[in-house]
């Protein structure tokens, strides 16, 4: 058997290790989407009139839009009428963890993220999103002392309506794209963060997302506002149970950084990638993530480690409006078996002396197809803007693909742009060299891949970096013979 064939065959052996479903009674709307469904969602969440109207406007706009077809990902047509747009575990509004459904807590334990342990050990506040409704929010009190608001989006709508009304859709308007419009119409919950002036958030804020209800699209909405001179580091991590139907996920994340503020947003995404032998049943992840550096000296940094989902369509971006503002994008994406990813970033330079850095590392194995798509735009007024981009791809086996589409649009001659790109493969000679030194092929791949990714991993908070390294090992286990 040739080495390549062995690579492919062994690739097909790895099962998704977080495949299980927790049985919790859910209050679920029947499948289908119309204005009435949106009214029900809004009513269930006891939303103010303006928000319902905003949702309806988004829905009417969405009806006029067409699903984008420009990306390189291929998937069967999505029947939006076959999706249920609301699913909530029946118990809500719990004061402490004791009141949380034991089944649910057990689910977190299986995932290795017990809330109580996290509270004690890591000092990470967790806003746990289970399906669509936040169930337990920890560390709220301590954050409150610092003046930090961190909680579910629905709570924020009730408690801080003026902040929501001011910022919702200010970075990603509902007209932005097809999935952002859909999300704006039907989003059910998500996270809200507000860091007041001059406050350095005392802990890493962390949300674990999890998709659990069959056929329920997930439409999360996250809004993070860092006021003047503040700092926040936000972590988002996901796993999902095994499933046969495709699950649509279309989240919107908006970040707003005011003068001298910094937002660091880190993601480790490990959603069900589809059946390893057929590719069916994986999550479709169509996400719109964008931040705006609204005023001078602000900074937004995206770091993502994407190992899951069947289809990923995601471009965390920065609008550098304030003078001297900085945007960063650090990404590691893995596509194994039948996974497809079209991901990258957009850096839009508006202000003077704005700087952006893009480091993208793509790893393809099996029949995985991966595209880096990035745009750097230097607008007329962006005097002395600078960009550095580096896009590297590594291929494992000969049936996968890596594609790079860097778009550069410079309208100010003082701009300095640097772009580097490499494509390499984990060669048979490298594996044999490692084997000859007594290192197994799996260990060799994980060693080489971790070396390849280290520029990105070092941007992750410590506990996430460890998790990411482990995740890479699991994702690529058995990808070579």
């Amino acid at each position: 058997m040739s080495n390549e064939q062995k690579i492919i065959d062994d690739n097909l052996k790895k099962d998704y290790e977080y495949g299980f479903v927790t049985d919790i009674e859910s209050e679920t709307l029947p499948p289908g989407l119309n204005e009435n469904v949106i009214r029900i969602i809004s009513a269930k969440k006891e939303e103010p009139e303006w928000l319902l109207n905003w949702r309806l406007k988004a829905y009417r706009h969405w009806l006029k839009m067409e699903e984008p077809k420009w990306s390189k990902v291929v998937y069967p047509e999505i029947d939006f009428q076959a999706i249920s747009y609301f699913s909530a575990p029946k118990k809500k509004e719990l004061a402490s963890l004791d009141e949380v459904d034991p089944d649910l807590l057990a689910t977190y334990t299986k995932l290795g993220i017990p809330l109580e342990e996290q509270k004690m050990l890591s000092g990470v506040a967790v806003d746990a999103v289970f399906d669509s409704v936040s169930i337990a929010t920890t560390f709220k009190e301590e954050l409150k002392k610092a003046g930090v608001i961190f909680g579910s989006f629905s709570d924020a709508v009730k408690n801080y309506p003026e902040l929501i009304q001011k910022y919702l859709g200010s970075v990603v308007p509902y007209t932005d794209n097809y999935y952002a419009a859909l999300n704006s119409a039907v989003f059910t919950d998500g996270s809200f963060v507000y860091i007041p002036k001059g406050v350095r958030c005392p802990m890493e804020l962390s949300t674990y997302f999890r998709i659990n209800e069959a056929n329920t699209g997930q439409f999360e909405r996250t809004l993070i506002i860092a006021d003047e001179g503040s700092y926040v580091s936000y972590l988002e991590g996901c796993t999902a149970p095994q499933r046969d139907e495709n699950q649509l996920h279309a989240a919107v994340v908006e970040l707003v950084a005011h003068k001298d503020a910094t937002i660091k947003y880190s993601t480790v995404q490990n959603w069900y990638p589809g059946h390893p032998k057929t590719g069916t049943g994986g999550i479709y992840n169509f996400v719109t993530k964008r931040g705006i550096c609204l005023e001078e000296n602000s900074r937004i940094s995206w770091t993502q480690v994407e190992t899951g989902s069947a289809v990923t369509w995601k471009y965390p971006s920065c609008i550098l409006k304030g003078d001297n503002s900085v945007g960063e994008f650090y990404s590691v994406a893995v596509t194994n078996n039948f996974q497809q990813a079209d991901t990258g970033t957009k850096m839009i330079h508006l202000g003077k002396n704005t700087k952006s850095t893009i480091i993208s590392k793509g790893i393809s194995a099996g029949k995985g197809q991966q595209t880096y798509r990035g745009e750097v735009k230097i607008m007329k007024g962006a005097e002395n803007a600078r960009n550095f981009s580096q896009c590297d791809s590594i291929l494992i086996g000969n049936q996968c693909g890596a594609h790079t589409f860097p778009y550069i649009d410079v309208r100010n001659p003082s701009a300095k742009m640097e772009h580097e790109a490499t494509t390499s493969n984990i060669g048979e000679d490298q594996l044999f060299y490692c084997n000859q030194r007594g290192i197994s092929s799996d260990d060799a791949v994980s060693m080489i891949v971790n070396g390849f990714c280290k520029d990105v991993f070092k941007e992750l908070p410590m506990e996430f970096a460890v998790e990411a390294t482990k995740l890479m090992e699991v994702s690529l286990e058995g990808s070579v013979g």
Binding site: F432, C434, Q436, R437, G438, I439, S440, M447, G451, G481
Partner: protein, 245 residues
Amino acid sequence: MLEIKNLYGGVEGKTILNGINLSIKPGEMHAIMGRNGSGKSTLSNIITGRDGYMVTKGDVLFNGESILDWSPEARALAGIFMSFQYPVVIPGVNNTYFLKAALNAKRKNAGKKELDAVGFLKLIKEKLKEVDMDPKYLQRAVNDGFSGGEKKRNEILQMLTLEPKLAILDETDSGLDIDALKIVADGVNRYRNSNRSFLVITHYQRLLNYIEPDFVHVLIDGKFVKSGGKELALELEEKGYNWLE
């Protein structure tokens, strides 16, 4: 230690070796000399188990056991080491990390405790001196940006660290200037003892001035056409390979 019995084999369906017989006992140093294409590298690749190389007939025994079904890493862990003719570059992987992973794989396999970073650094610093390498190489990626001589010294460093029972030196002299050649030869000579065996594969006699073999075998068209003592190498150097054809 190593026994090769009537070995036929090759690569990509092409038979290159035509009945090799070789017996290496503990403490012996054997040299195989031959021109390009004579089958030298095929032999070392078959002994180390590289994918794609086939054995059609015969057997290879290591300490009495047939190893032909063993994976390359199993052979390495059992104590077979090869210094590569063309050491492979592994970008992004730190040399220290690589060596530590290799050593710990070996220690784990032998039921020994794995070395931590401090213990490993202490050990490796001693070994570095033996091959006259600057500690800064430890911080670089494996063979990345190394000169030809540095790569070969790095191979010998790995040998000294992993302490194999049988070391195959595949064209270790190629690409070495005279100073580096001496350093490499010194490292090998110091490593020699009555329990360790060597198989030195070379094109020229040059290396054998510094590393004295107990036996020399001349390989032509996948067959040993003549075997003898170290004087055979000198004779070959003088008369050329044509003499034996």
